[in-house]
């Protein structure tokens, strides 16, 4: 028995002796995955938060949903979780198996007088990511900056980034690297937003109190995004405070906001409801009432907009979480005359999403989303018993699923699929007289089915080289017309050293739905139209490369990016095209090429008492539409610039924390003037007998070349002061001064007819320049209780 035991003992020793080095080696090789979510103290997810093990010089960043996944060797590690504007967490970890961890970072106090751009990825993270041409904007950053009428607008803040142009003074349309405003994929919690503007583009639909963050992709589009050529604007709403019931809001010059948020079944979930409404109409109605009955009384039309955001999330268990998002926004413009004429114009988006997040394992999770997005406008005229209504709409039902798999610390694999059913209400017209004598209706509707499959892998080949490759297979069907294509995406980053990296990327994009507009701006009456018949999908490709330098001991990041983008099947419309309720609308399109190129320099600083950025873009955008379809094309087939082509664009943004109570901010912008089309000649049209008296007094302009005249350079300085009040600094007064030195920027130029006052005869013509906004100071009161 003893001998047997001794034999076993020695055998065991022998086995152990033989296997010990192997066990030790195996243990050294054993790697486990930690995964989870990084949130703020109020339960908000923190996209971009870093989860790192400094001793191993490894780490990762939380994705747009706050998820992270990091593969580490077994053993003891010190984990550091950090995010700008939040207190860092250091946690000791003995990793013996895959672990799911969640972190809640408390906001860092301002006692040290350190100003930080909260909710931002660090400059080091930007340096190391393969992604280029991306701008991450935190709502905190946007809220500090001065704004027109004090209305914080995240899209206008994005216009201050290099490579992004505005459509015109005060408008929130984005024109990215030569693309047009309809070529931006604007997403709100994964649901498409068809018209991201209020008030003809002066304000965006995003209520800053409800928004968590915004990512703008200008190039190197990740494979999960598609459907638009030019950019991706990925807006994430806040999830609400998971610990406390909180009310926040603001009272501004033209609108007020109120947000309420709090926990659901404390610790299990949270909700947020946020509303905003303008009150021009309250003042204009009062004015109308005061002036009613006076001679020459002319009522001021009613106008207001409102939007409502709601979001809720609930944790079903360790592996499942549900999210619901809703948005409803409307612009309402109305006019009633004493003569019985009533005019109402309503437009807006309605959006709903439901997302289910399921964690299969620390290495694999999936988000499955169902969403509905609806945009419509209705224009109603009534005159006594006659009524006339005109409208159009687009409605999408979308289902998508997105898997994220981290097999090891070198690969991050994403695969997914999406399917959207579009219903295009291209035009709807009703006219009737009430007594039945006139009763006419017409509408034009189309359906479309758009699908995509994608896969991408972010591969860390070495500490110096990181590659990301993706492929997106897309297809679209409308009636019997079918289209499809492969969209390759590729990015690479090579780090020369800890402070310098080179990046290169390529992307091909298809766009299957098209905005029908023949105006130079995005208007609420614009119509969306599917690829069908002769209207082929738009396509663009872009290559860009850049170099980034971390300067000043990591305080500054200098990035220089160059890009070249070219597209085909770009759409425009025949002169005088019949765009409304036209069953043969496809015949009104004309097609052409586009190309743009430029260089973007960007210097940014995100920590310290003074933060901000300087951006400079040198860019060219071109179009060519050859003679076709019974037209002379555009410019008789000669190359021309779109009106938002601006050669130089300089922005300087400075945020300075004076002390715990005062933030001072300034933004300066200088750009080349917009291009516009001016008539070179004119001729007279008398018209037929019985149409008017004498030769027609109004000249007919002749426009030979499109966008051949450049307006004067645009420049503007905005200043802002945020003064925190209250013992807990939970209230503030925000003073914004838009156009501080009262520059008369050109909004447009036209030729005015000069008439003799006595005879009303035309005596000459002269050019007039119209400016939109003088200096506009505004004061907003914000609170958080």
């Amino acid at each position: 028995m003893v001998a047997f035991s001794a034999a076993r003992y020695y055998l065991l020793l022998l086995l152990l002796g033989l296997s010990w080095p192997r066990l030790a080696w195996a243990q050294e090789l054993a790697r486990f995955t930690i995964s989870g979510t990084v949130r703020g103290g109020r339960g908000e997810v923190l996209p971009g938060a870093s989860v790192a093990v400094p001793a191993l010089n490894t780490g990762t960043a939380a994705d747009s949903l706050g998820h992270f996944s990091l593969r580490l060797p077994a053993g003891k590690h010190q984990l550091v979780v950090a995010f700008i504007g939040y207190q860092q967490i250091t946690r000791d970890l003995n990793l013996t198996k895959n672990q799911r961890l969640s972190f809640a970072l408390e906001e860092s106090g301002n006692e040290l007088g350190e100003v930080v751009v909260e909710g931002s990825v660090t400059l080091e993270q930007k340096l190391k990511t393969t992604q280029m041409g991306v701008e991450h904007l935190s709502i905190h950053e946007a809220k500090l900056l001065p704004a027109l009428f004090g209305e914080v607008d995240i899209l206008k803040t994005l216009q201050l980034k290099p490579g992004v142009q505005s459509g015109g003074e005060g408008t929130s349309g984005l024109f990215v690297r030569g693309g047009s405003a309809d070529q931006n994929l604007v997403l709100l919690d994964n649901a498409l937003v068809y018209n991201p503007n209020h008030l003809f583009g002066l304000f965006s639909v995003f209520n800053p109190d409800a928004v968590q963050s915004v990512d703008l992709y200008k190039s190197g589009f990740p494979a999960q995004f598609g459907g638009r050529l030019s950019s991706v604007v990925d807006v994430k709403l806040r999830e609400g405070d998971r610990q406390h019931y909180v009310a926040t809001g603001g009272i501004g010059l033209i609108s007020s906001r109120l947000t309420y948020e709090g926990p659901i079944n404390k610790g299990k979930g949270s909700f947020i409801v946020s509303g905003r409404r303008t009150y021009f109409d309250i003042f204009t109605r009062a004015l109308n009432k005061a002036n009613e009955g006076k001679e020459d009384y002319s009522p001021i039309p009613d106008y207001y907009f409102y939007d409502l955001n709601a979001k809720a999330n609930y944790t079903l268990g360790a592996k499942d979480q549900l999210f619901f998002t809703g948005y409803l926004g409307r612009d309402i413009f109305g006019f009633s005359s004493t003569g019985g004429f009533n005019f109402t114009f309503k437009w807006g988006n309605t959006i709903g999403t439901a997302r289910w997040n399921h964690v299969f394992s620390p290495k694999l999770f999936v988000n499955t989303t169902a969403s509905i997005s609806d945009y419509q406008y209705n224009l109603t005229n009534k005159l006594d018993q006659f009524s006339f209504t005109l409208g159009s709409s687009i409605r999408d039902y979308t289902g998508r699923t997105d898997f994220e798999y981290t097999p090891n610390d070198r690969h991050l694999i994403k695969v997914g699929a999406m399917l959207t059913q579009h219903k295009f209400g291209v035009g709807r017209l009703d006219a009737n007289s009430g007594d039945g004598r006139i009763n006419f209706g017409a509408d034009v509707n189309y359906y479309g089915l758009e699908g995509a499959l994608y896969a991408s892998d972010n591969y860390k080949a070495s500490d110096k080289l990181q590659l990301e490759g993706g492929l997106r297979l897309t297809g679209f069907r409308s009636g019997s017309d079918q289209y499809g294509g492969l969209e390759p995406r590729a990015s690479a980053r090579y780090s020369l050293n800890d402070r310098t990296s080179f990046k290169l990327n390529y992307a091909l994009m298809y766009q299957y739905v098209h905005l029908v507009t023949n105006s130079g701006a995005t208007l609420p009456t614009d119509i969306w139209y599917p690829s069908r018949l002769s209207v082929m999908p738009q396509r663009s490709q872009q290559v860009s490369s850049g170099v980034s330098f971390l300067l000043g001991r990591g305080k500054f990041l200098l990035t220089d990016e160059v890009y070249y983008k070219w597209g085909r099947n770009q759409v425009d419309f025949k002169d005088g095209a019949q765009l409304f309720v036209n069953p043969e609308l496809d015949a009104e399109f004309i097609f052409g090429k586009s190309w743009s190129y430029g260089n973007e320099l960007y210097l940014e600083k995100k920590t310290g008492r003074t933060t901000g950025w300087i951006g400079y873009t040198l860019a060219w955008s071109w179009r060519n539409f050859q003679p076709q379809r019974g037209t002379t094309g555009v410019n008789n087939g000669q190359d021309f610039h779109p009106n938002y082509d601006r050669r130089h664009n300089l922005t300087v943004v400075v945020l300075h924390k004076l002390n715990a109570r005062f933030d001072l901010t300034a933004s300066f912008i200088y750009t080349s003037g917009n291009l516009t089309t001016l008539p070179l000649g004119r001729f007279g049209v008398q018209d037929i007998p019985g149409s008017s008296t004498g030769i027609d007094p109004r000249p007919v302009p002749i426009y030979p070349d499109r966008n051949s005249y450049r307006l004067i350079p645009y420049h503007r300085l905005d200043l802002g002061v945020v003064y925190k009040i209250g013992a807990r600094l939970n209230q503030d007064l925000t003073l914004s001064i838009y156009n501080a030195y009262n520059r008369r920027n050109a909004y447009f130029v036209f030729f005015e007819t000069v008439r003799d006052k006595a005879t009303d005869r035309i005596t000459g013509f002269r050019a007039q320049q119209v400016s939109l906004f003088p200096v506009i100071p505004s004061l907003t009161y914000n609170f958080r209780f």
Binding site: S433, R437, A521, D575, N659, V700, Y703, R744, G764, L772
Partner: protein
């Protein structure tokens, strides 16, 4: 420090507000590139009337006001049977400044025009500088006005007004266009030459072959004589009018896309068409 900033803020705002009290519309100098003038032709033939047309030239936008009437232009109208009819240069300059409604013409024929639906006419315009404009048009069949109806509102006094409905049926052929004018007053007193009360243009693309009912607002008084003139026009004339309207509308509208002028005059700019009209008159009861 805080106090200093407060004063800065309080003092700065009114100053800045005052600075904003300037004009937002200002005269500017716009250096326009050189513009080459074209022949501008406007010719509306009417059966039973002596053919005439106005030939002018387009001019640089900021140049003199009065239309430029070239004196070296010869015009030939070719009839459906191939007969060329010269139109002589005989401008009625008085029409440029009077208010009778008579239209200016630079060239005029001698005998009234005989035209039937389907007839094809050709116009040839040339000057001594080598500019040469041509055009061809076909007369469309007139479309009869089936009826005119009216209805008064319930109001009294000066607000007691009627609307008028004009009914006609579109032929089954596609791409018809119409222009409907309603004049108020006695046609014998020349009101049909004056500015109409209502002037609408429309196409048949949504109502091809169907009945059209075109209404007005409440704008006619008891006792008014209302004359409807319905022009059956081709797509070319409709498009010309729309492009003229769009081109005018784009000057001063930052949201509008300027339109080129789409006429049917090759080698120049303008329109050549035959007016194919029917009329109906309704006298509203007192």
């Amino acid at each position: 420090m805080k106090r200093k900033i407060n004063w800065l803020v309080l003092g700065g705002v009114p100053l800045l507000a005052l600075a904003g009290c300037g004009k937002l519309q200002n005269n500017i100098d716009v250096p326009l590139p050189t513009y080459s003038a074209e022949l501008a032709v406007e010719c509306y033939l009417e059966p039973g009337k002596v053919p005439s047309l106005a030939v002018t030239t387009s001019v640089p936008y900021l140049s003199t006001v009065l239309p430029q009437v070239p004196t070296d232009v010869t015009v030939t109208l070719t009839m459906p049977n191939g007969t060329p009819v010269p139109l002589t240069f005989s401008p009625n300059y008085q029409a440029l400044i009077d208010t009778t409604g008579v239209k200016f013409h630079s060239h005029i024929g001698r005998v009234p025009l005989v035209a039937r639906p389907g007839d094809v006419f050709t116009l040839d315009v040339r000057d001594t500088q080598g500019r040469h404009a041509t055009s061809t048009t076909t007369m469309l069949a007139p479309v009869p006005i089936d009826s005119m109806n009216y209805k008064f509102n319930d109001k009294t006094g000066a607000e007691h007004k009627a609307y008028v409905l004009t009914n006609f049926r579109d032929p089954s052929t596609p791409d018809d266009a119409y222009r409907l004018q309603l004049h108020k007053g006695d046609p014998a007193r020349g009101v049909l030459l004056k500015r109409p009360e209502v002037d609408n243009s429309f196409e048949d693309r949504l109502l091809n072959g169907q009945e059209f009912v075109v209404g007005t607002s409440y704008r006619f008084y008891p006792g008014d004589t209302v004359t409807a003139t319905l022009y059956h026009t081709d797509e070319t004339y409709f498009r010309f009018r729309k492009s003229v309207s769009d081109a005018r509308g784009a000057n001063g509208n930052p949201f509008a896309q300027p339109s080129a002028i789409y006429g049917n005059v090759r080698g120049g700019i303008g329109i050549f068409t035959v007016l194919s009209a029917t009329t109906a008159t309704k006298i509203l009861p007192k």
